[in-house]
Amino acid sequence: MDAIELGIVALKCLVIVAVLLTGFAYTTFLERKVIARMQQRLGPNRAGPFGLLQPAADGVKLIFKENITPVGVDRFVYFLAPIVSMVVAIMAFAVMPVADPITVTIGGQVREIRFQLADFNVALLYVLGITSLAVYGLVLAGWASNNKFALIGGLRSAAQMVSYELAMGVALVSVVLVVGSLSMNDIVDWQVAKGLPLIVLQPVAFGIYAITAIAETNRAPFDFPEAEQELVAGYHTEYTGMRFALFFMAEYINMITVSGLAATLFLGGHHLPFVERFTGNLPWFVDIGVFLAKVILALFLFIWIRATIPRLRYDRLMAFGWKVLLPISLANLALTAVVIAFLAR
């Protein structure tokens, strides 16, 4: 690993952080606009054309807000929690491939540049592992805030996230069974080689992934950690200004990540598996566009679901995770394994 390679890595990291931040800002905008339309309203439309500058205005406003540190908080943990949330959200994106690699010549040397920060054999487990850390930001915030609403919100979210993580883990095993690899690129390449996205072969796994992804990101109808009618603002009740913004950022970046994962695992990633049979491999900038389109589609679904489905009751939520999703995902796994065993024998 030489200096140029390190420079490329640093540049990639910068791009990832910048794109995720922009993505976060405009996902909030998209959400407000779409929900407004679904409720026969206009949504933000004052700042800039069509209200496009609204996220920037929100950001500036948040910076100039007063930061209140309530009495009795554990200061170390209180300040740590939002940073943990945000860092974990950004880290999960590291293994996402967004386009085919290109080769460029830098200083007389031919180098391959991948549109992906890192890929290794256990990339899928890495994503699962990192997303399982998201629970810490919430539990820490809940515990440190010295607020009963925050504590209950943090605890609930922890129990909810671990419960749904199980079903997600089992559902993704079915994907690994079909493809035979845990590497993101292998999974995408497999879908291209076979000419069909995995959602066709594994609709049940996709359904379970979609549901658990919503629960893991604490989005409606699974938004218990911050159920405003009962818990004020849940785990971030005592956070103001930019500290609150970090939690907000983490939530939306997590949405982008799980959407990207859905695109990669089930929708053919940055390729169009069926179409590319006729057109051949598309150039890298089209790849990025394809990936982006799939992510935005998934984000739209997130928002649509939020506008449509009311929040569950907490006991129903836990029962749904343990008694419905887990058995279904196990049954899907067993079926997949049996079918593959018959086909491969």
Binding site: M1, G72, D74, F76, V77, L80, D119, F120, N121, V122, L125, Y126, L128, G129, I130, S132, L133, V135, Y136, V139, L140, W143, N146, L155, A158, V162, E165, G180, S181, L182, S183, N185, D186, D189, W190, A193, K194
Partner: protein
């Protein structure tokens, strides 16, 4: 050089986290330092080339067991304030833990680590890779098996030296019995957890 640097970093995180565990005044914060220490250990596994083990360390120890520890702390203690976890047994604990460290150190020093010199630079760290993935016989068998299977489907470039595949192979062949016993142990733990929680 790079490896030494990386090892220094993750070992520092692991040891620093461990020191934080004993130094923190609050049990909850101690548990958080333990999380950092676990992450450092995951880094050590990654450096040793045991990628699956590293991911498992994060998923199980950091993502699950530490959450349980946090819950346990919140369940049992009045955790706010400066309740020192030091007590009269501190000296005893020191003796026990330092003798464990000494025993492990002697063991690590006297064990004849199989070093394969031809492996990427020939450093000790890289040479230990294969042994973590299982016995060398199993891994070579898995490798040849894996490559035949792969050529028949799609060319999966990364998979060829994956120790995930080797581990799967080892679990289902020569370690099948231990593998099934693991599930029995988990079952016993499950029943135990229910019985304890009910009382």
């Amino acid at each position: 050089m790079m490896e030494m640097l990386a090892f220094g970093l993750v070992a520092g995180v692991a040891v620093g986290g461990a020191i934080g565990v004993v130094a923190a005044r609050n049990v909850f914060v101690s548990a958080l330092w333990l999380v950092l220490s676990f992450i450092g250990v995951a880094g050590i596994y990654a450096i040793l080339g045991a990628d699956f083990l590293a991911a498992t360390q994060v998923l199980i120890y950091v993502g699950a067991i530490s959450v349980l520890i946090l819950f346990a702390v919140m369940l049992t203690h009045h955790v706010m304030g400066d309740e020192r976890s030091n007590n009269r047994q501190a000296f005893l604990a020191f003796i026990v833990s330092s003798s464990v460290v000494a025993a492990l150190g002697v063991l690590a020093y006297r064990t004849d680590w199989p070093i394969r010199p031809a492996d990427a630079g020939g450093s000790v760290v890289t040479a230990m890779r294969g042994d973590l993935a299982g016995s060398s016989a199993a891994s070579t068998a898995a490798q040849t098996g894996a490559s035949t299977a792969l050529t028949s489907t799609v060319d999966l470039a990364l998979n060829q030296d994956s120790n995930v595949v080797r581990l799967g192979q080892a679990l289902m062949t020569e370690h099948l019995l231990s593998f099934e016993i693991i599930s029995l142990v988990l079952l016993v733990a499950l029943i135990g957890a229910i019985v304890i929680a009910r009382d």
